[in-house]
Symmetry: D3
Subunit: 247 residues, 6 copies
């Protein structure tokens, strides 16, 4: 039995608050257990230089943690004067994942900036960010529909992410808390769509390795967790949720 009587294939409680702050086109506070992330989506009416003139849009993401989101205070990246490798990896992952379910042609020459700011961390900040960012993105695109700037919701399917791993005793588990994550021999992040396709799989042995059988077991757990995440997203999205995947 895990912390809080959680079962090995059980997600932590999920809450998704929308309209969390007033300025962004889409603003979400997502909590998965004790991990809390503000996901804001901002629409800018132009695209980066490498995209100009193609009539297509772009989605890009940034990720950060408040210095004391964690047990120990971290130095701000702005004070260090540079973004760490871990942050870059995460923000590239978030952006790439979201783009897999967006029809960029339908957005027009606009950029959606996704800002994921972790205010409290307890494991799974990158997967929680993706799950929350998806909701913020849909809400922001909804404002474009409301303003009649675009006609259809340019989202082809739901998208969420979760983590799975292998504990030192060999047990495969779903949705790792910080403490579990720091002990796990294998840590895998899985990003999937509503119809069960993979968008991204990143499995890593931490000074350890894993077998084909363990991989399958972990993928099964991830698949199972996704259902709850999509439900929570659907509920948070209200009317916009039903437009997803429409032709």
């Amino acid at each position: 039995m895990r912390n809080n009587e959680r079962k090995i294939d059980e997600l932590r409680p999920i809450t998704i608050d929308t309209a969390y702050t007033k300025h962004p086109e889409g603003s979400v506070l997502i909590s998965i257990g004790e991990t809390k992330v503000i996901c804001n989506a901002s629409i800018e009416d132009r695209v980066p230089p490498f995209m100009r003139g193609q009539g297509k849009g772009w989605i890009t993401a940034e990720y950060s943690m408040l210095p004391r989101a964690t047990e120990q205070r971290n130095i701000r990246e702005s004070s260090k004067g540079k973004v760490t490798g871990r942050t870059m990896e995460i923000q590239r992952l978030i952006g790439r994942s979201l783009r897999a379910v967006v029809d960029l042609d339908k957005i027009g020459e606009r950029t959606v900036w996704i800002d994921c700011d972790v205010i409290q961390a307890d494991g799974g900040t990158r997967t929680t960010s993706i799950t929350g960012a998806f909701v913020a993105l849909v809400l922001a695109l909804g404002t474009l529909i409301d303003k009649k700037a675009i006609k259809d919701m340019p989202i082809t399917d739901y998208l969420a992410a979760t983590s799975v791993g292998v504990l030192p005793d060999g047990t495969e588990i779903l949705d790792l808390q910080y403490e579990e994550d720091s002990q796990a021999h294998v840590d895998m992040n899985v990003v999937m769509t509503g119809n069960g396709q993979f968008v991204e799989i990143q499995g890593t042995g931490e000074e350890a390795t894993f077998s084909h059988a363990q991989l399958q077991k972990m993928l099964g757990l991830a698949d199972q967790g996704m259902k709850k995440l999509f439900e929570a997203q659907k509920e948070a999205l209200g009317k916009w949720g039903s437009l997803i995947g429409e032709k």
Copy 2:
């Protein structure tokens, strides 16, 4: 009459939530009107090099805004690779203000890091940060008393901040919202202690000037606003509030 039927000498509504996130020794979410700032205080058991060996503590502050805390999205300072002049000015102001009411000798060789992260901005983010940071600081020092690491609360008085200004029509007003702030000819931040002493006065004519009489009028408004701020702090602080200023 101002927005929301506010009078010229009236503060916006104040709320101060404590224990806002779980990791910091002191964690506060302060809202003054629509301006919302997370103020976290973290205790580190050592001081910066220039303070070592003096048996004294240190208080330092950092300030940041979420990219979309504002109407227009701002580029992250970590992406720019440097902290702007405005941010530096504000974090120096917060740290200096707090140190004016702390007996650093009583803290021992510890640093209290104050992190003010603005999640929604509507004018007065620096004064709101100071007012909230004071509460987070006292709470963090309270944990040292609880752990018997120090004996007395090393805070000599309450401390809060507010803004005052002069509108284009010459009216002096208290607690400027963003819209008022961007029009004002004069903008002044005042930091004061519970017994009515000044800690910091920063009055600036924005391509304008102000007279001695206007200065006096603004200082009077500030003085008036302080009372409400100290009340809100006292309520948020509970038992720790009564230890402030004790010998």
Copy 3:
């Protein structure tokens, strides 16, 4: 009695040399006591991006100290790879102060760069910089009149700055030397115009506070010091001085 038999309400000797170096449109060496600053004003025939197309000009300032302007050698900011918070605060203050007495519409789309380089520091480098920079600015604008690029002197009033403070024994003093400054409990910089209006007031308790009465006393001293500063500026400016504030 202070150093050099100076009275508490007495400025140090002021000298302002013009045409100090040959390239800048306005070039001044100002000494207030042992504090010496080269203030150069350079005119550039365009404005920064955020000002373009408005037909208005811009004034911006930079501030630096030679590494050995001080008792201890300081590391160059170019070697550190960044400008410190203190420097940014000062250069923002200088630019903002000057803009308060300039009619930017009359300059046309030009930028005046003000460079204040402290070659010897003994307290009051920022206020000395403002006082000297004003002279360099007027001289530089004079070259535009000489070249018939503009018709009138676009300066609405004289502008100077000084420091006042409170010593540990409670005495309020005018124009602090380095040694006094490092002991003072309160340090206040005041920027004023020729007709006695305030442009900027920055009063700071250094781990201390100050009362309303002390504030008034300090403002009185500042007011008194301004007269001498305006005289010295007038003398240095020669014919250009008489055009200031003309309609």
Copy 4:
């Protein structure tokens, strides 16, 4: 049929030259098709601060491309003044992968620096780097055995990496060249050990997704490719190869 009559489950030709440059403890030039990487391993007799005093060693990797390793010249990261996110991701991957097969306790307090410098790029530079770096690492550790600084080869198993992907027509292929890589809908890097365990799986849909069946097919291709890579490593390693995985 692919370029050069290559089959979909066929690796490009592999060559591994050892002792490529004279200074490093291990120096390898690896070519997989037209992708050429210099992999140097350098031994330093101390570990980074966070590892000190544990009696263990550390393996860290850096990755770079010559500016003209690619079709278009890239700006040097030293000129940009920062390492890109892509480079950071790759160097973290290389280091993490190698550490999975090293018994760090047996190295003593030493760091092995792995430098992978791509001199010619044609797809698969990160997997080629891992495969070559493994050889350089073993050779460098061999010098420690030769100098009797350590007793046993602290490598628990062979380690290599390859890429697999899905072409737009749905075909799964092994070992993508640059041209294939830039068209592929799915791109997956797989790092495996000699006994068939996974160390790292990174599968990414590029604005696309992939099914469970496609994942299995790709993993099968990767598994197949590994055999050739281990053979080439074994041949390059000579006597040192036979010590791998010994107790």
Copy 5:
């Protein structure tokens, strides 16, 4: 007698491989003794901003060493976040030297980027870079002739570089290896053209000085070494070599 029975006026063996990597317009691996440098020349169809609109071309150079090109591993400049003074000096020298024999008007508005990457260092890396870069440059310009983008070879003469120095015992020597270089009291780099003109002389006493007579002796040695370098270049250049200096 020097290392490898070399005489004091004898160059180390020279080899120049062309078409070393496939992407650059000119790609050379030059070895002088154990010093090995990859010199790549890349043609870009535009010039830097300060050259635009003049109908002329530009040549610029960058220089770097692999971290383990040397006996001790060096930290990458990309990790440091800045290019060192030594590197800047060298790349400025390479670019300036090459430009002395190029008729920039004949290149059209194109930039030739010269990248010199030292893969193994044993003294004389900057002079070896210049000698190799000249070959890469001519080959790259040759591709422009082949594509009929330009008519004539815009190179006015051969160009090579070598080092000379004075050992502690007073002997003047040609082409210093690393060990000799680190002992030498005087170190001089000489860049010359095929017809015996100087392009650059940089002679430095390392905490030492040198006489007029020593200078003459060193220049004589340099002159002698040049002949072999020009021969090696001519051989490497094949048909393109004969176009050099043609009207």
Copy 6:
């Protein structure tokens, strides 16, 4: 005839003011024609890490120009966040040159920081810096003798620098002004000692070359110019000058 009726072998007027600012151990304002440089020497009682424990001292130099030392205003290197290649080259040259005439063993574990800040530039700023820095250095070392921290003046000979060049018409000239410098085909900086030895020769053809005969002629002019420079230094140094080169 040159500007101001100067002959081709004639230096511009030299003035060297000592004790120019009050804080540095040695402080000099040197003017050669219209080029004016403040050269300050600061003594620090420790050496950089790479020199520790050898009982020897170190001399290091920094160089900068006020933004408007030149006809066009330059951006500050602190604003750019990095030191340019030109600056690095110059400060390395100044430090290296001075060290050639200092007996570092006699200084003890001290660093002398030389700061050369150009306040007005009209050609020859680097050679003027060296000539002035030498005087500042001797004065600073003199304070060590005065304080009995060292016994003898650790300077083995006088040291000065000048520039020579070749004009487009082929004339060799001494001590180039800015206008001459920007036209010259060849530009050479020569650093020499009081007894006529070379410390540094840096001759550069600017998109041009020079013959052996021209080199000799330029060296002759440099030699001639040195005499005047040494006289001016001797006069400025007073009593300290006579201790130079004593055993």
